[in-house]
C-alpha cells in the first residue's frame, strides 16, 4: 500500500500569494494513498528539509511529492534529503507549481485547480516509481589521443603531466601535423619549428606517453571509462629499435624524384625518408608505392648501406588492442583543393600557389631554404597578389563558413614577403578583415602600415598569363573601380576543410559530424570540448577551423576533462536508462536503429545444452543516456525507461 507524503511549499509569496495552499493541502489529504500532506513557507530551507525527513521517518513513507519550484531547480535538493532519511531518492518527484503555475497565471481559482491536478498526477506517478540505484562504471585510467599535431601533443602532455597514462597515435611517420609545416606564426612571428619541436620531443620522451606514429585507429568499442581500441601500426620496413636515425639510407636511395607531400609538392624526396629534418621519431619509413625494390624486386641499396641492419622488407602491419578510459580526437584539417576555381588558374599555372605552399617557400627548412622563389623558374617575385576567401564564405563553389585563420596568415605572408624581398610589392584582395584575437588587429595594421601591403577590398574575377606575367583582374569596391595587376606570383588563401576521411572516421569512433565533416561538440557554447558520446572529447581543427592558440586552449580543456574523469575509480551515473525484457524481445533491432549512442548490443540466449534459442537486444548501461527513443520504437513493448516507464506516464496522464 502506497504511503505518499505531499509537501506543499509557499516559496514565501511566490506560490502562497497566488495559490490557495490550504485548499491544496486538504485536497491532497483526501487523495487515496496520501499519508501526510503539509504546507510550509520554504521547504528548500534547512528546517523545511528537516520537516520532510521527519515525515518520511514518522509515516514510513513510500514516496514523496514536493509541490514547489521547477525540478530543474531543487529536484537534487529534495532527492538528497530523501536519501538522508533512508528513502530511495528516485521515489521523490517534484510538482512544478511555481514556474509553470503561480508565476504565469492570474486567476487564483484556476491556478489552484491546476496546482491540484499537477500535484495529483505526480502522486499517481510516484506510486509506480521504482527504487533505482546509481550505475557504477569502473574507469580504465589510460587516455587515447588521436592525432599528433599541436592539439594532440598539448592534450597528451597535459594528461601525462597529471600522472596519467596516454597513448598518442599519429598516422604520419612523424609528430607535428600542420604546425610543423608553417614558417612563422602570427601574431608574434616566432618560428613555428622553434616552438613546436621542443613539444614534440617532450611528448616522445615522456615516461607516461606511449607514442605510436605511422599508426591508425581502426576500431573503437565500448563506452566511457571502458573503451576497447584496435590500432594498426603500419609497417615502416625499418626496425625502430635498431635504427639510429643516421640518415645514410636516405642519402643513398636512388629514387629521388618523388613529390614531397610535406613540402606541398614543391620539393622532392627519396623513397625512404623522414617527412622533415626535425621529425620525431627520427626514423625513416619506406614509401612502398614508389620504392624500386617493391616495384621491380631489385635495389635494396638502403639495406646494404644500413650499418645496424634496421631495414626489413618482410615487415608486416601489426595490430594492438588497447583498453582505454577516455579518447581525445585531435585529427586536424586539410586545405581545400582550389582547382574548382578555374578562373584563378590553380593547377594550370605553376606560380598560382596555396597559402600552405607559401608557408613552405618561406620556411627555412623548406625547398627554397626560406627564400621566396616562384615555383616555375625560381625567380624572386617582384609583385605578389594574395587572394583571400578563395573557397571560404562562398556557398556556390566553396564552403559556406569562414575558415577563420586566412585573414591572419595572409597578413603574415605579406609581412614575411616584405621582410624577405626588399622592394617587392604585395597586394591583398579581401572581403572583410577578420582579425579578432589578442594582438591580431594590431598585426594586420602592421602589415598594412609598416610593411606597406596594399589591401584592396574586392574579389578577383580572373587570373591569366600575358607576357610572362600573371594578370590579375579584380575590383576595388571602395574605389568602385576595376583593378588589373601584373603579378609574378598569386597566393590563394584556400578554405580549411575536414580531413577527407573525417566522416568515415566519425563512424569508427562513434561521434557525430556536421555536413562538412567537422566533428560535433555536445553543446556549442557550454560543452564545446565534449562530444555527445560520453568519454570522447574534441581538440583542435577537427571540430572547426582554428588557429594555434585556440587549438592549444581546447586541447588543455580536453585534458582537464580527461583528468577529471580519471580522478575517480568508479563513475556514478544517473540510473535513468532503458532496460530490455529479454523474455519478450523478438530481436527485431528497431531499437538499434533508433539509438543515437550505439548502446544496443546483441545478446545470445542459449539453452542449457548451449544451443542458440534466440538473439535479443541488450542495452549497455554504460552507453545508454536515457533518452527513451528505443522504448517508443520497441514493437513488442519489451523496452522500458527507468524513471519514465510507460506505466508511470500513463498514470501521470490519468491523474490529470
Amino acid at each position: 500500500m502506497a504511503k505518499i507524503g505531499v509537501f506543499i511549499c509557499h516559496c514565501g509569496e511566490n506560490i502562497g500569494a497566488k495559490i490557495d495552499c490550504t485548499k491544496l493541502v486538504s485536497a491532497m489529504n483526501d487523495h487515496p494513498g496520501v499519508s501526510v500532506s503539509v504546507e510550509y513557507k520554504y521547504f528548500c530551507s534547512d528546517p523545511g528539509q528537516e520537516n520532510v525527513k521527519k515525515a518520511i521517518r514518522e509515516h514510513n513513507l513510500t514516496g514523496v511529492v514536493v509541490a514547489a519550484c521547477s525540478p530543474r531547480m531543487h529536484e537534487a535538493t529534495f532527492r538528497k534529503a530523501c536519501a538522508e532519511a533512508g528513502l530511495n531518492p528516485y521515489l521523490c518527484e517534484i510538482a512544478n507549481i511555481r514556474e509553470q503555475c503561480s508565476w504565469v497565471h492570474t486567476d487564483q481559482d484556476m491556478a489552484t485547480e491546476k496546482a491540484i491536478e499537477i500535484t495529483r498526477s505526480l502522486i499517481e506517478k510516484v506510486k509506480l516509481n521504482n527504487e533505482l540505484q546509481p550505475i557504477e562504471v569502473p574507469v580504465t585510467k589510460r587516455a587515447l589521443v588521436i592525432g599528433g599535431g599541436i592539439a594532440g601533443i598539448q592534450a597528451a602532455l597535459d594528461i601525462a603531466n597529471a600522472g596519467q597514462e596516454v597513448v598518442l597515435v599519429e598516422r604520419e611517420p612523424s609528430l607535428g601535423g600542420h604546425m610543423a609545416q608553417l614558417s612563422e606564426t602570427f601574431p608574434t612571428l616566432d618560428c613555428s619549428q622553434c616552438i613546436m619541436t621542443p613539444r614534440m620531443v617532450e611528448a616522445a620522451q615522456h615516461p607516461k606517453i606511449r607514442l605510436l606514429t605511422y599508426s591508425e585507429v581502426e576500431q573503437v568499442e565500448g563506452f566511457i571509462g571502458n573503451f576497447k581500441v584496435r590500432i594498426r601500426q603500419k609497417s615502416r620496413y625499418v626496425d625502430m629499435k635498431a635504427c639510429t636515425g643516421c640518415g645514410d639510407c636516405i642519402q643513398k636511395c636512388p629514387q629521388k624524384k618523388i613529390s614531397d607531400e610535406f613540402d606541398c609538392n614543391l620539393g622532392k624526396r627519396p623513397a625512404i625518408y623522414t617527412p622533415f629534418a626535425q621529425a620525431v621519431p627520427n626514423i625513416p619509413v619506406i614509401d612502398k608505392e614508389h620504392c624500386t625494390f617493391f616495384k621491380n624486386g631489385k635495389c635494396k641499396v638502403c639495406q646494404k648501406v644500413c650499418e645496424t641492419d634496421a631495414i626489413n622488407f618482410e615487415m608486416q602491419d601489426e595490430f594492438l588492442e588497447l583498453e582505454i578510459g577516455a579518447i581525445v580526437v585531435a585529427t586536424g584539417f586539410q586545405i581545400q583543393n582550389t582547382a574548382m576555381y578555374g578562373e584563378y588558374g590553380y593547377g594550370k599555372y605553376a606560380d598560382v600557389i596555396t597559402g600552405l605552399q607559401f608557408e613552405r617557400l618561406a620556411s627555412a627548412s623548406g625547398p627554397t631554404a626560406g627564400k621566396i622563389k616562384r615555383p616555375s623558374d625560381g625567380v624572386e617575385p617582384e609583385t605578389i597578389v594574395f587572394i583571400q576567401c578563395a573557397g571560404s564564405r562562398d556557398p556556390s563553389k566553396g564552403v559556406k563558413y569562414c575558415s577563420k585563420i586566412c585573414c591572419m596568415y595572409t597578413a603574415k605572408h605579406a609581412m614575411l614577403y616584405a621582410h624577405k624581398v626588399h622592394g617587392g610589392k604585395a597586394h591583398v584582395f579581401y572581403m572583410d578583415i577578420r582579425a579578432a584575437g589578442k594582438g591580431y588587429d594590431e598585426f594586420t595594421r602592421r602589415a598594412i602600415e609598416e610593411d606597406e601591403a596594399s589591401y584592396l577590398r574586392g574579389r578577383v574575377s580572373k587570373v591569366w598569363k600575358e607576357n610572362g606575367k600573371l594578370m590579375v583582374r579584380g575590383v576595388d569596391t571602395l574605389l568602385g573601380k576595376p583593378v588589373e595587376i601584373a603579378a609574378d606570383m598569386v597566393v590563394l588563401a584556400t578554405a580549411i576543410t575536414p580531413q577527407p576521411d573525417a566522416k568515415e572516421f566519425a563512424k569508427v569512433v562513434g561521434i557525430g559530424c556536421d555536413e562538412y565533416g567537422f566533428y560535433n561538440e555536445a553543446h556549442l557554447k557550454l560543452r564545446p570540448v565534449e562530444t555527445a558520446t560520453a568519454g570522447i572529447f574534441l581538440a583542435g581543427a577537427c571540430q572547426s577551423p582554428k588557429d594555434i592558440p585556440d587549438s592549444v586552449s581546447q586541447a588543455s580543456a580536453c585534458a582537464s576533462k580527461v583528468i577529471g574523469l580519471f580522478s575517480r575509480d568508479q563513475l556514478e551515473r544517473e540510473p535513468v536508462i532503458a532496460v530490455n525484457n529479454e523474455s519478450t524481445c523478438s530481436g527485431c533491432w528497431g531499437c538499434a536503429l533508433a539509438c543515437p549512442y550505439n548502446a544496443i548490443e546483441k545478446k545470445d540466449i542459449l539453452s542449457r545444452s548451449g544451443e542458440l534459442i534466440k538473439r535479443v537486444a541488450f542495452i549497455n548501461p554504460g552507453l545508454c543516456q536515457g533518452c527513451g527513443t528505443c522504448v517508443t520504437f520497441c514493437r513488442s513493448n519489451s523496452i522500458d525507461l527507468a524513471g519514465f516507464t510507460e506505466k508511470q506516464i500513463f498514470a501521470e496522464v490519468m491523474g490529470l
Partner: protein
C-alpha cells in the same frame, strides 16, 4: 451560455528544451492561460502516440507535443524520430476521425519563453473555439473496458 468553455490541454515535452522554455516563461513572469498540463519526459523521442491517445481518452480537449529544434536535441536526434513518428501518426489520426487540429506539434527551445507563452495562448484559444472533445468520450462509452494500470 453560462461560463465560457475552459478546455484542458495536455502537453508532452522534453525536459531539456520545452520544459526549460516553460520555466523561462515563468521566471520572466509572462502570462498565459492555465489550461495547459505539462508532462515532462527526457526527450520527445520518448513520446509514444499512445500517450496522446491516452490523454484524449482521459478527457483532454487538445494535446501539445514539443521539444528541441531540429539539430538541437540533447540526445542528438530524438526529436527527428519524434517528427517522423508524428507524420505517420497524423495519417492514422485522420483515419480514426480525431481532428488533427486538436493536436499540435512544435519546437520550443530553452531560450524561447516568449514563444512558449504565445503558443499556449493561441493554442488555448484555438481549442476553445473547437469546443469540448467528446467524440472520444462517446466511443469510450460504447467500447472501452475499464482501464487497469
Amino acid at each position: 451560455m453560462s461560463e465560457p468553455f475552459e478546455p484542458k490541454i495536455v502537453a508532452f515535452v522534453c525536459t531539456y528544451c520545452t520544459y526549460a522554455g516553460a520555466d523561462l516563461a515563468g521566471t520572466s513572469r509572462l502570462k498565459y492561460p492555465p489550461n495547459i498540463r505539462m508532462v515532462r519526459l527526457p526527450c520527445t523521442g520518448r513520446i509514444s502516440p499512445m500517450f496522446i491517445l491516452k490523454a484524449l481518452q482521459k478527457g483532454a480537449d487538445g494535446v501539445l507535443v514539443s521539444g528541441c529544434h531540429p539539430g538541437d536535441c540533447h540526445f542528438t536526434h530524438g526529436n527527428y524520430h519524434a517528427r517522423r513518428r508524428w507524420t505517420v501518426f497524423r495519417a492514422l489520426l485522420n483515419f480514426t476521425g480525431i481532428p488533427l487540429e486538436r493536436i499540435r506539434f512544435s519546437w520550443i527551445s530553452a531560450a524561447e519563453g516568449v514563444k512558449f507563452a504565445e503558443l499556449i495562448s493561441s493554442l488555448t484559444e484555438d481549442i476553445r473555439k473547437l469546443g469540448p472533445f467528446d467524440q472520444y468520450k462517446a466511443m469510450i462509452h460504447e467500447t472501452e473496458t475499464p482501464v487497469s494500470l
